[in-house]
Symmetry: C2
Subunit: 383 residues, 2 copies
């Protein structure tokens, strides 16, 4: 493909603001790099749409999205002040439902969240080696803890019992683990090209499996078996296992030791939020949901951050995570389209230049957008 | 009670080494502070016992433990090198079973892991405010994700399906949340005495509930309802809610904002490992499992760290976490016994003096024990 139709869903809270800057930047890149990209914006899913139409999105919104090559999402949800559980319960699960529905409908079974801090991004760790962090967390995105199975017996009474069941399939487990090994190989290849080879006990890439198999036995056993099975096909890739509690700890004490990390839906959710911190926080952490086996399932690109309703509408939310998310989308397009590859490289260097110059200085949303745009122009004029 | 019978279970790996130093120190304290404490050591549960007797512990070991006031545990498990899943699978779940069995048998439904870094302990966060961290993570220890329910359908085949079910009761939820509020009050009272009052929007303590209610709906709803219900009885305590992914993130970006944190078994496991890092790592993180409603259920005190078999038998494991775990035990005894209170204060100041002098300098296990012992003597001679 050399023509790209992108569905743009700004969503709730700060979503529309950071998306507006991203659309400006994408338009400039399209012009500059001969990228044929059409962005079509939608007011749904969102709380605003719900207020007007009594539903979070039109009933046929998934069919509408099926007509696009990719989905670019701002942020969903309006949890309200977290100190007010009532307001939260009223709206949160419902307002986030489209996120989980889109992942499910388009079989986006892999969630990829890269972590490689850019110079200038905020640093939370004391150790200088934090600058060397270079990992990719791959989260199983279609089953496991998030299947929504369970129920409440005698709700509200003293004898209430609640179950919440996670369901894992061998098929789902095999494909996500295999994808992790494939990504490890690709990353090693990229590092060889960039002359930054890493060493994992004599191999140049590594996959770390995360489970809690000493307490959550059934799925821990299955994950471990599949991991051993799949890894036999990748003798060039080193393997490692961590229990989820130890993995979280090591994400703080020695994150530079990891390469590719693969985990279940819930564990992946937790690990990617920690990885976002290592990247410099939610302000700079991109994410994508995709079906690696079928490029014609539209993937969804979204920043790791939420809708941050408390700072919405004030022109203070940083658009950097959204911009880096757009760069991930361009990388994905770039697997088929050289123009998208050029655009991604240009966007990444503009964002890096902006971060290096300003760090996490507080500037307006639009001001950051304008500064990144200016860096794109610099690059256009040969600087 | 003014007489204490303690069952000492050194366990596996580094357990026996760190326990030996702790027993020396406890004996010295007993003598110095008039504490009536009898420590009885057992070779089980352990891999060594298994090798000799073909079982990890005698069949009646729980009855034996029932005859004691408290259990002091070193560490269990011999997971082997984590890069070797086979060896791990053979032994791990089985060798840790007594840990979970003891928690269950003595209805130790609360796991408390305090986090307040001592000067000299390793620092992982860049921000200087890390020195101000002062929180208590309370983990539900009897149900939830750890009930061991689930199974494998068609194991090993392509169509395999695995379930893992978490079970929560309203009774279990209510008691742990109520315990969190009680602890918040106690902590605030202690801080008032020490003139270090904190402010949480006009209140002097806070409980933060952690769930994943936007994705794990059933138990998230129940936890939220119970939290609202119980908090109504504690108008003096501020309340807060975090999703587990955001909570883990904030444990790295703003941990000084937390006071008491209450979470489910699995989420609590993850959060307490992160809290251990904030304390200065596994080398200094104590933990206890107890039944707050019944002081005659023997509680179990254990460091958060594991058995670290790779460094066992080399006299290099730090005993500090084990010593601080013994101090937690003395605090618990101190609720009835002034001699135990004196001993705890003396032990804590000896450990603090040692840490302040040596930080995380590597010294032998026995050397640290001797140094702490010397600090106790200093204090005995009036220094
Ligand atoms: C909003 C929530 C359901 C979602 C998730 O847990 O998947 C979010 O935390 C994420 O990581 O994308
Ligand atoms: C060993 C394991 C089963 C245990 C747990 O998860 O409870 C440990 O991690 C802990 O935190 O005490």
């Amino acid at each position: 493909r050399q023509q790209w139709r992108v569905a743009v869903l700004p969503g709730d809270g700060i979503g529309p603001e950071v998306m507006a800057q991203t659309e400006r930047v994408l338009a400039a890149l399209a012009e500059r790099d001969g990228l044929d990209l059409t962005a079509t914006g939608f007011g749904w899913p969102s709380h605003a749409w719900h207020q007007q139409h009594g539903e979070i999105a039109p009933p046929d919104y998934l069919q509408t999205l099926a007509g696009f090559d990719a989905i670019l999402l701002g942020a969903l949800g309006d949890p309200g002040p977290t100190s007010n559980p009532d307001r939260y319960l009223l709206s949160d699960a419902d307002s986030l439902a489209p996120l989980l529905d889109i992942r499910k409908h388009f079989d986006q079974w892999a969630c990829e969240r890269p972590c490689r801090p850019l110079p200038g991004a905020p640093r939370y760790l004391a150790d200088a080696r934090a600058a060397e962090i270079d990992m990719l967390v791959i989260r199983e995105n279609s089953e496991g803890e998030y299947v929504g199975q369970g129920g409440r017996l005698a709700p509200g009474t003293e004898r209430e019992i609640v179950t919440q069941t996670a369901v894992f399939t061998r098929r789902g487990t095999t494909r996500i683990i295999r994808h992790a090994f494939e990504q490890a190989r690709l990353r090693a290849q990229q590092r060889r090209q960039d002359s930054r080879v890493r060493d994992f006990g004599g191999r140049d890439s590594q996959v770390c499996l995360v489970t809690k198999r000493n307490a959550l036995k059934f799925w821990g056993e299955m994950y471990t078996e599949v991991f051993a099975e799949v890894s036999a096909d990748y003798p060039d890739v080193a393997t490692h296992h961590e229990l989820v509690d130890a993995a979280c700890m090591k994400f703080v004490t020695r994150p530079w030791d990891f390469d590719v990390v693969v985990a279940s839906n819930l564990h992946g959710d937790i690990l990617t939020d920690l990885a976002a911190v290592l990247n410099g926080g939610m302000g700079v952490a991109p994410s994508c949901n995709l079906n690696p086996a079928d490029r014609h399932c539209p993937p969804m690109f979204e920043p790791t951050h939420g809708s941050a309703p408390d700072i919405a509408g004030q022109d203070i939310a940083g658009p950097t995570a959204m911009l880096l998310t757009a760069a991930m989308m361009l990388d994905w397009m770039g697997e088929e389209d050289p123009a998208a590859r050029r655009a991604s490289a240009r966007l990444r260097s503009a964002v890096a230049a902006d971060l290096a110059a300003h760090g996490d200085e507080s500037r307006g949303t639009a001001a950051v957008g304008a500064a990144v745009l200016a860096h794109l122009q610099d690059s256009a004029s040969g600087v």
